[in-house]
């Protein structure tokens, strides 16, 4: 499968649909996130609604950040989901994070749907995980029983719950970034180029 749109890094970046808050305009409840200058675009747009920011940022942090689910598995989830939803921002950012988390170049490319993941991922738990991600992120209605069974055979209940919430949260962020046209950062684009990935 290779449904992901490849972006021309040289194309002029479009402006986001809504204003990114800045250190000068950041509302009181969001001020800490702007203390060291301009934060990432997701933080900067969420600051438009401070009362939402106030609960969303800790939630996103708890969901995407370090937890009992291994970092490698979490990055598989985030990158794969973002690739399925064709989110340029999240695919770019998490290509870098996944690489830093120890995933190999071919593994990252497979998650980005640029290689056949079945050929690249041989561990059964990770195969079950990717099957689960694809079913949750792309599917409708009940998940196929064989996919669900494979998942619960390899992952315990708390992990299944957290991974599923992580897929959903990543999808929410994917749609936020894509819908609002958040541009990948210059440092991300530079790193992708250095590591031999398309933007």
């Amino acid at each position: 499968m290779n449904s992901m749109r490849v972006v021309d890094a040289a194309a002029p970046a479009t402006s986001p649909l809504v204003a990114l808050m800045t250190p000068a305009t950041a509302p009181l409840l969001t001020r800490g996130a702007f203390a060291d200058g301009q934060p990432d675009p997701i933080t900067a747009v969420l600051a438009q609604v401070p009362e939402l920011f106030d609960v969303a940022l800790p939630f996103i942090g708890a969901t995407l950040g370090p937890s009992f689910v291994p970092l490698r598995a979490k990055e598989i989830v985030i990158l794969r989901t973002s690739a399925l939803l064709e989110c340029e921002y999240c695919v770019g950012a998490h290509t870098v994070v996944a690489t830093d988390a120890g995933l190999g170049h071919d593994e990252v490319r497979a998650l980005r749907a640029e290689l056949d993941w079945v050929a690249v991922f041989t561990d059964n738990a990770e195969r079950a995980l990717i099957g689960w991600i694809d079913a949750i992120a792309l599917g409708r209605g009940r998940v196929d029983e064989s996919i669900a069974t494979a998942m619960t055979d390899h992952w315990d209940d708390p992990a299944v719950v957290e991974i599923t919430v992580l897929i959903g949260t990543t999808m929410m962020l994917n749609r936020l970034c894509t819908g609002l046209g958040l541009p990948p950062g210059a440092d991300t684009l530079e790193r992708l180029s250095t590591d031999g990935f398309s933007a």
Binding site: A26, E51, D54, L57, L64, A93, T188
Partner: protein, 277 residues
């Protein structure tokens, strides 16, 4: 007793809730924080919303209401809305004092029996100095309106806004003589500095303040809830958001509790350390 009421009783949270009734004005003062003028976006707060805020403020334990703008008396519904709002809490309305013709005065007469006071701006004892900032004939119009309001039995306060160097001791003494002559006692005359926001910032007037230096009065506008009536100001036609607390204003307890949390020092943003990419 709500946490809000306890904080107000303890003096850690100011007891007044402000509302921006509108943003348009028949004047266009040089230092206006909201860039108000006749043609600007009105950003109206619905009268039912104003009454709802007053009711919930009373339930939460707030002590009084302040209504500002823009010029609130440009709103035809205001006398009626003030009567309803003041059923819940004593109400102070900030006005430029220039719209009180016979018709308007007749509409205001019933307010004399209610806990409603008007605070009228008067910036100098000298008509030309006052009018330079507030527009032609402002001094004469205000001086005419104050006794007529007082004759109705309405409590009038006077607010003087200005740069310290524009109001020396002599000016101050003459201004006080004037307000006493108009029947406004000393305790109902306030002098306040210009805050460097809105049009004042454009022309380099006033002083900069950190939020911590401004009383943490909850202020509701059509755009959300803010820290102080100095929060929802306008610069270059854009709403200032640096003192925004929340976009959500109903129920009032939601922004009120966020404000309480802010003043209790649980400052936000720690969550930002999570480093979302």
């Amino acid at each position: 007793m709500s946490a809000i009421a306890e904080a107000i009783d303890a003096g850690t949270l100011p007891g007044r809730v402000w509302m921006y009734a509108d943003y348009h004005c028949n004047l266009a003062c040089t230092y206006c924080l909201t860039e108000s003028a006749p043609g600007v976006s009105k950003r109206l707060l619905d009268p039912d919303e104003m009454i709802r805020i007053a009711r919930e403020a009373a339930e939460l334990g707030y002590r009084d209401i302040g209504i500002t703008g823009g010029e609130p008396f440009l709103l035809r519904h205001l006398p009626e809305t003030l009567a309803a709002v003041s059923e819940y809490l004593p109400t102070l309305v900030l006005t430029n004092g220039t719209l009180f013709n016979e018709t308007r005065l007749a509409e205001l007469a019933p307010l004399a029996r209610l806990p409603v006071a008007l605070q009228i701006s008067l910036d100098s004892p000298d008509p030309d100095v006052n009018d330079e900032m507030r527009g032609p004939d402002n001094f004469a119009t205000v001086i005419d309106a104050i006794p007529r309001l007082r004759d109705l039995g309405i409590t009038v306060r006077i607010a003087t806004t200005g740069e310290p160097d524009r109001l020396d001791e002599d000016d101050h003494a003459r201004l006080c003589a004037l307000h006493r002559e108009l029947g406004v006692p000393d305790e109902d005359h306030i002098v306040r500095p210009i805050v460097r926001r809105g049009r004042a910032a454009d022309v380099g007037l006033g002083q900069d303040f950190a939020p911590e230096q401004i009383p943490a009065e909850l202020c509701i506008s059509v755009d959300g809830a803010f820290w102080s009536p100095f929060g929802p100001t306008v610069r270059g036609g854009e709403l200032d958001t640096d003192l925004l607390i929340s976009r959500t204003t109903a129920p009032l307890s939601r922004p009120a509790n966020l404000l309480l949390r802010l003043i209790q020092g649980r400052l936000p943003g720690d969550a930002a350390a999570i480093g979302i990419r």
